[in-house]
């Protein structure tokens, strides 16, 4: 799109459609909120902080959002749907479950690496923001639960696995990602893929088979040969 390379127009001089500007402003505000929250924690962030970081007028904030909470919920929903969209796109086509999990995790890690602050809002900060954000957090977690739970069908002891296994695995994955985000080196997030794949698959397949999938490491099922 041409708009991308156009220098930012002076107020009142731009030719861009109103819709586009509105979308763009919303995204800027959401990003500013995510950055502020990851630095200061939700409670300490003010609308003034967000406005300043986004480089917009206070009025513009209130044209888009009713409150800080409203803005946070929008950021969380945006992040959740972006992350899940990627996971579904990457994992949806793969029939072989272990590779499906690997592809889904790889896509999720890609999102976290590109949008660390937004990823934090839905993995961590959501729990400290508002009752509604806690509810959204639960919903996003359940989406991942359903992907993992399919592993019970391919596991030799799928019927005996504890009920809460999937929730615990996802909690563990989120925790590892959060710890890595604290180091402020989002570009290294992708390195975690093999160990997270192994962690997630071990309860279903056993450590050895889980490691075999993790070490192939390209997120794709092997062509025709079986894994043995």
């Amino acid at each position: 799109m041409a708009a991308k390379s156009t220098p930012r127009p002076l107020p009142g001089q731009h030719q861009l459609p109103r819709e586009f500007i509105a979308q763009h402003q919303r995204a800027r505000i959401i990003n500013a909120l995510a950055l502020e929250v990851s630095e200061k924690g939700y409670r300490a962030v003010t609308v003034a902080d967000i406005v300043k970081r986004a480089g917009i007028a206070r009025n513009t904030f209130y044209e888009n959002f009713g409150s800080k909470e409203d803005c946070f919920l929008a950021a969380q929903q945006f992040a959740m749907s972006a992350a899940l969209g990627r996971v579904v796109e990457a994992a949806g086509e793969i029939d072989n479950w272990p590779y499906r999990v690997e592809a889904g995790l790889a896509a999720f890690l890609g999102f976290v690496a590109e949008e660390p602050a937004l990823a934090r809002t839905c993995m961590v900060d959501a729990l400290a923001a508002a009752p509604t954000s806690v509810r959204y957090y639960e919903e996003s977690l359940q989406a991942f639960v359903s992907l993992f739970r399919l592993g019970r069908d391919v596991s030799p002891h799928g019927q005996e696995l504890p009920d809460t296994l999937e929730e615990a695995l996802i909690g563990g994955v989120f925790w590892i990602l959060y710890q890595r985000l604290l180091l402020e080196e989002p570009e290294t997030i992708g390195e975690l893929l093999p160990e997270l794949v192994e962690f997630a698959l071990t309860p279903y397949l056993g450590a050895e088979a889980a490691r075999a999938v993790a070490l192939e490491g390209d997120g794709a099922p092997p062509a025709a040969t079986s894994r043995g």
Partner: protein, 231 residues
């Protein structure tokens, strides 16, 4: 034994059942009164937070629950945040002592993990206000407390790392450097999400699942399930 004028950190009811000194003259040494006031303020904060949430708690709420003056509050703490940090540390110290004791009473590592987890769940179930303070409100309180929260979780790593000792090369090859952190992260998530949802009373029923989940990478599924389901 809880002596009403000599609250001990070792008392099984500590800190929620902190002894309350009657306001006014009691002829106790200054040092002791100061210490007691601090503990009362901490207990007051825990009660106020349970009632109003951390964000909704004011210093007035805390001093009312503690039955001390605002001035006394400021003799001990500069802010609500500082008082919260003290309360958080008190709860975690207590929790840690119970886990340690239970863990150390067992000779075998898998049973020690089971005992430590059981002690933790028992404490959190018995003290729903403190459970909420340490697992939910700590996240709301802001970066200083969140740092302590993260450190408290990371400090559980050695209990699980001990499970690597004596395992076969094959098992060790299946453990990555972050295995312990991932297991603990998963465990904490299971626990804290129930506290968030006001389902603290369900925590003790999580014991078998948590034991199986955390032991599986070290013992394999079958053996982990056996320890988990042992009465």
């Amino acid at each position: 034994m809880s002596d009403p004028v000599n609250p001990s950190v070792d008392s099984p009811e500590y800190p929620p059942e902190l002894a309350r000194l009657p306001p006014g003259r009691h002829g106790l040494p200054r040092e002791f009164v100061a210490h007691n006031q601090r503990e009362r303020l901490i207990a007051g904060l825990a009660e106020a937070v349970a009632e109003n949430g951390y964000a909704g708690t004011t210093i007035a709420h805390i001093t009312r629950h503690a039955a001390v003056s605002r001035r006394t509050f400021y003799e001990h703490f500069n802010s609500k945040d500082e008082c919260f940090v003290a309360a958080y540390d008190t709860v975690m110290t207590e929790l840690r002592e119970r886990v340690d004791q239970a863990f150390n009473e067992e000779d075998e590592w898998p049973q020690a993990i089971r005992a430590g987890l059981a002690a933790m769940l028992e404490f959190l179930t018995a003290e729903p206000h403190l459970a909420r303070l340490s697992m939910v409100e700590a996240l709301v309180a802001g970066p200083v407390v969140v740092e302590r929260y993260d450190a408290a979780i990371q400090s559980l790593v050695p209990y699980f790392e001990a499970g690597r000792k004596g395992r076969s090369a094959e098992v060790l090859a299946g453990l990555s450097p972050s295995t312990e952190e991932a297991l603990i992260g998963g465990m904490v998530s299971l626990i804290s999400r129930r506290i968030f949802a006001d389902r603290t009373e369900e925590l003790e029923s999580l014991l078998p699942d948590l034991v199986e989940f955390t032991l599986t990478p070290y013992l394999g599924s079958a053996e982990a399930a056996k320890v988990a389901r042992a009465a």
